[in-house]
Symmetry: C2
Subunit: 409 residues, 2 copies
């Protein structure tokens, strides 16, 4: 049974479906007796400044609900705020609980990734010590898919769908002149290669997919890299390579940082501000003599709400809804995870997991799914990702453009 | 009345709707009695190597027709081939006409931009001199919208829709932390600023749009540029700037080439390989002390068939179809243009225009539509572009990804 009011916040990097989880919390809380659902502005950081809204002031009707599901980025704003340990700085905790008490909040939901789960963990532990009856629940969110325990994370499926769809368009574009060309596409993921791996989904009946895929889990030998491309060029005019932004060379340096040091000191003798893809494209142009270009997916891959996965949107909503049910039954210090019941047909169920098993742990692409001497990914990895990308949720367009629900604009 | 067979080619840079014009030529030709519709592979360049297909070998049914409309880039492949003058090199002309005669081709269609219209012009003039009865017609295509006479060009509306839609998503993403941020977005257009101007459509009830818009028609004073941003930063946390890839500084240099010369000789003291946006973002980071990032739309803006304008798709088809009707009635040395009959409601009609009035002429954004001391565009410009972006044509998805029709893959 619900006690008092509800508050919900969003934290960490934006995704295309984080607002669907927000809707899941909001609707489920109201449907189950919550009087008020507050929204923290800019997460826990904004809450500490007593910046919050009554969400029903902004969500006027069911059309707004649908619009919010189609709105990218975090509707409430986000933050990157690491809660200090209570022993170090108890005042932060005293302030948070004072504000929650003032609002008669008994259920706190935090939608985010690794760091946000750390916040849920710390607040729930502090509540336990202080005998507070406020519950703290996490709702997972990250395009990076790097959370432990859960089968996958809300946000990942939509980014994967975007990356693979656009990769197909880029490959087709690169074929157009029938001339020699090298395209290096840079995909997000500093330490975990799930998103870069998703580019392999582009391989289908109508598309060869990227020719090489380099994940951050494996360091890259720049000599072998050039040799691999030279080999491919013997029988292919257009070569397309997917690289993770977090790719490192065998000496442990990020490729994108290779030339952040003095130009004369780096081992390649190049200077680039553009990161991994532009650096590699420039390097390949020089080494192969073939016109090479870099394409950076940049923020588009995390906020392209015009091309989301319906599966992902639905699961993000479910995660928010399940968190509310669990909290109203008394759960705290927990987060929602997905368990895969079946591959074919794809079926998952949501369940509740101790936040300690998830906070601060990073899940990488396992070795057995990185193939071809670390230049491609296994079919099993594609089979794992593909169901997460299925289905569409179309934008509501006004004057030709997708409409969003907003607090800020 | 149709005489003999038809051949069609695609030339210049890819767009999202160039295949819709191809379908317009193909279907209209078959519906009006053409026995065979050949496709040149890689345009006139491929034709010279006798590389062509019978299009009906690849388009098996009406579903394929619909798939082809949803396929980005040029289905037949493209080329960048400037036909020499007949006086300089008649052999090329002799070869082309020999191949056309061999195929019993009496109607030649070429879908492309400025340079392609030059090809149509030269071939039709040569035919006249030689008393050939082969007709040569152009079908306009360019995302750049820089063709003279016509109200606009097929391809532009879809790119404009993509640019404005993604601009909205980027602006929303940039607001998420509520912290100081500068985002510089680089948009295609080396000499004409139509595409960069289209970013202004993002300004709507739910979005402030980009704060500054810099077109290649006006040179940029880098000191004023920084000052404009400093002024904006006084009352805005997140500033988003749209810049054309072809932006030049007041000394006439392309911004993206400022530091292609020796690092010590350029006036800014920076080196960047990433072009206009990355260079400017880097420069702003240093001058304002605020975290600045560059985003390059790159090829995505010309080949995002997953986000096309239905209006654009339909008009591209109409242009192809009208070209066939005109040719079958004996027109040659002409191209199709759009005339705007009415703004509200938006209505156009296609008509036929002498290719001499279009070939090799570049239409830029007029002065009266560049406002705010060259940092924004007029409402009238938005009113002109907006109707071209209306409506969607949704991809056919297979396994979660848009499916394309293909010859190469």
């Amino acid at each position: 049974m619900v006690k008092g009011n509800v508050i919900v916040g969003q934290s960490g990097g934006p995704t295309s479906v984080i607002n669907s989880s927000l809707v899941g919390v909001y609707q489920t809380a109201l449907n189950n007796g919550a009087k008020k659902v507050y929204g923290m502005m800019n997460g826990i950081q904004g809450l500490l400044q007593e910046r919050y809204i009554d969400m029903s002031d902004y969500i006027r009707d069911d059309l707004d609900i649908e619009l919010l599901k189609r709105t990218p980025s975090a509707f409430l704003g986000s933050c990157r705020f690491k809660l200090p340990d209570a022993e170090e700085n108890e005042q932060v905790y005293i302030d948070i609980f004072r504000i929650l008490d003032k609002l008669d909040v008994k259920h706190f939901f935090y939608i985010g990734g690794n760091d946000s789960m750390d916040t849920v963990k710390k607040l729930s532990e502090y509540a336990k010590v202080k005998n507070s009856d406020i519950t703290f629940m996490g709702v997972p969110k990250t395009i990076d898919n790097d959370l432990a325990v859960t089968d996958h994370t809300p946000g990942f499926g939509s980014s994967a769908k975007y990356i693979a769809s656009v990769m197909k368009e880029i490959i087709r574009d690169a074929l157009v002149y029938g001339t020699d060309a090298i395209t290096v596409v840079e995909i997000m993921g500093r330490n975990a290669g799930w998103l870069t791996a998703a580019s392999a989904l582009a391989k289908s009946e109508d598309c060869d997919g990227p020719d090489l895929i380099y994940l951050p889990e494996k360091e890259i030998d720049i000599g072998e890299f050039v040799e691999n491309i030279n080999q491919l060029k013997k029988h292919k005019k257009s070569v397309v390579i997917a690289v993770s932004e977090g790719l490192k060379t065998t000496d442990g340096k990020y490729v994108c940082e290779v030339n952040k040091s003095t130009i004369h000191e780096d081992s390649f003798g190049h200077k680039s501000l553009g990161g991994t893809a532009l650096y590699l494209a420039d390097y390949l142009s020089e080494k192969t003599g073939i016109k090479s270009r870099g394409i950076i997916f940049s923020t588009l891959q995390r906020c392209a709400s015009h091309l989301v996965s319906r599966t992902d949107i639905t699961e993000a909503f479910m995660a928010g809804g399940h968190a509310v049910h669990a909290a109203f039954e008394g759960d705290t210090g927990k987060t929602i995870i997905f368990e895969r019941i079946s591959d074919k047909p794809y079926q998952i169920k949501t369940s509740v997991c101790d936040v300690n098993l998830i906070a601060n742990i990073e899940k990488k692409v396992p070795d057995e799914w990185i193939t071809n001497n670390n230049t491609y990914v296994a079919k099993e990895l594609c089979d794992y990702i593909r169901p997460l990308t299925i289905g569409e949720l179309l934008p509501f367009t006004v004057d030709g453009l997708p409409r969003h629900l907003f607090i800020y604009k």
